[in-house]
């Protein structure tokens, strides 16, 4: 409990936490939606915000508020699949590469450097163009996970490299510990904060990518996500027609979500790094 109390002293943690809670609450609210997320013409069209449609209605005849709850839930699903799965790959590659070194390291880093240099976004577009019909939530998440590990594997590797040089590694090996327990019990706790912050960054990347793929019409557009919601609003000229409630809702929700996650991650990693903590208090 003490840790949480310390964390809440940081305004960024508090704000991030509250916003994230609100968004999760919205995502859960989607289960109680009075409307179907896909069906058109369920309510009067293009109405500005008023009771009972607190965020107005869109040109498809849907309630923007309830549509947004589905969008958040689905974007969460995509981002979590992409983030968690690519973490597994990034951790495996990063640890093997950093701990083994030598040829293994060079091959693995060669692959991930290659992935980094190629504009991945374009490859992603090429693949989704061919799989357009199959781009459901889960598949979008899987595809993003497949492409989103290279940078983080590199980051994790560099930390493992420095851990390997520390004394406790030698002590542990001399004490007869096998590689696997050494890595999971000794290294993993050290790298946890880093893994956590790469997770948050990756979630941000996944949500941003999903939006672009949706704008390009490369995901199943009838499934509401933050990206498809924006795509519909743009393709119905919401900006030109002044339907600000429709286009601003997905935009603001995306920003809130990503800023909240980012603040949480920065705050936690600063907390876990005592040097940063001292700086925050104000010592030079």
């Amino acid at each position: 409990m003490g840790i949480l109390k310390d964390l809440f002293k940081d305004y960024r943690f508090t704000i991030g936490f509250i916003i994230l809670c609100l968004l999760v609450f919205l995502a859960i609210a989607s289960f109680f939606s009075p409307y179907d997320p896909i069906e058109w013409l369920q309510v009067a069209r293009d109405k500005p915000p008023s009771w009972p449609h607190i965020l107005g209605t869109n040109s498809k005849g849907q309630d923007v508020f309830w549509e947004a709850t589905f969008a958040i839930r689905n974007s969460f699903i995509i981002a979590l699949i992409a983030g968690l799965l690519s973490r597994v790959v990034a951790i495996l590659v990063g640890f093997t590469s950093g701990y083994k070194g030598g040829l293994t390291d060079r091959i693995l880093m060669g692959i991930s450097d290659g992935l980094l240099v190629i504009p991945l976004f374009l490859i992603l577009v090429m693949v989704t163009m061919l799989l357009r019909e199959a781009m459901t939530l889960v598949n979008t998440g899987l595809l993003l996970a497949f492409f989103g590990w290279a940078w983080d594997a590199r980051t994790i590797r560099s930390q493992v490299l420095s851990l390997r040089e520390r004394e406790f590694t030698q002590t542990s090996i001399l004490a007869g510990n096998k590689t696997l327990p050494l890595v999971t019990k000794e290294y993993l706790p050290f790298t946890m904060p880093l893994i956590f912050s790469t997770l948050i960054n990756n979630i941000g990347w996944a949500i941003g990518m999903e939006i672009v793929l949706a704008i390009l019409g490369l995901v199943r557009l009838e499934i509401p996500t933050l990206g498809t919601m924006l795509q519909w609003a743009i393709s119905y000229q919401a900006m030109l027609l002044g339907h600000w409630w429709w286009i601003l809702t997905p935009l603001i929700l995306t920003i809130l979500l990503l800023v909240a996650l980012y603040w949480l991650s920065v705050s936690v990693s600063e907390y876990l790094d005592p040097r940063m903590r001292i700086q925050r208090i104000g010592a030079k």
């Binding site: 450097d113 240099v117 190629i118 374009l122 163009m129 390009l216 800023v259």
Partner: protein, 334 residues
Amino acid sequence: MKFIKDYLFPRLVQYLLVVFCGITAVFFIPRIAGQDPVLEMIAQIQVQGGSLDPTAVESLMKSLEELYGLKGSLFEQYITMWKRVFTLDFGPSLFQFPTPVSDLLRIYLPWTMGLFITSTLLSWILGNLLGGISGYFSQKRWSKVLDAIIMVIRPIPHYVFGILLLILFAYVWPLFPVGGLVLGRRTAFNLDFVLRVLHYSFLPALTLVILGGASWFQQMKLLVQNVKREDFIQYAQAGGVKERLIISRYVLPNAMLPQITQLTLALGQVFSGVLIVEMVFSYPGMGLLLYRGVTRGDYNLVMGITTLSILTIATAVLVLDLIYPLLDPRIRHR
């Protein structure tokens, strides 16, 4: 000689490997997915109302196969593809049939490169300078305010930030055009034209500079905070070296070197960002071309864009790697 063997040679090998693997991937992705551009093209012609008799279809298929490089076995196709890459010939574009993809790319690429180079340089320099100074004076009030602003901007994706700027400065307060700078085949190069281009490119460039700058700012700030704790800085401070000199001669150069390496690694992502921002602002570059290609199902065009982008980025990374020794005395003297 040692320099060539230890530094130059591995870089060149990496360059060739990346280009080779990337383009090979571009070649195999559609073939794994089993898409046949020829059949699709014919279907498209038929949808558009052209009725074709069987013999015409057959001859059309033959010539299209030749155009798209789909003749012969997979291996022969692969060889043909490499020949085409070297001559930068990507076949005809579907949505502007029969304009060759390479013609389209030739028109749009300079625009993308202009935006890419200007915005990357500006954001790197501004982000690093501000981040460096702000990291050195991290306890000052303005530094904290700046940091708070960056904390909000940093996590916003390119598309979302671009749309926000577009709404603010093109709809709500119409300072800038919504987009739609149209490219003529021959444009007079005079002051009027330059001003118009600046007017149209301002918002896209601003988006890229702010977002890119925010991320360099934060990395640089962390780096400088670490360099600041090094003994030689404390010694310089104790020895009474002027603060401005400490920053410009000792802190910034030391922290900036790793940032160049970071730039080479991030270049692919930065380029993706440029393409995305071009879509938002309908800026006449490869991003807009990509958008049109994707929405019209023009696979040939998308493949051409991807291939050219891989070549461009890999070459840019190589150039940066080759410049690096000029800036880093440790490598130069090795």
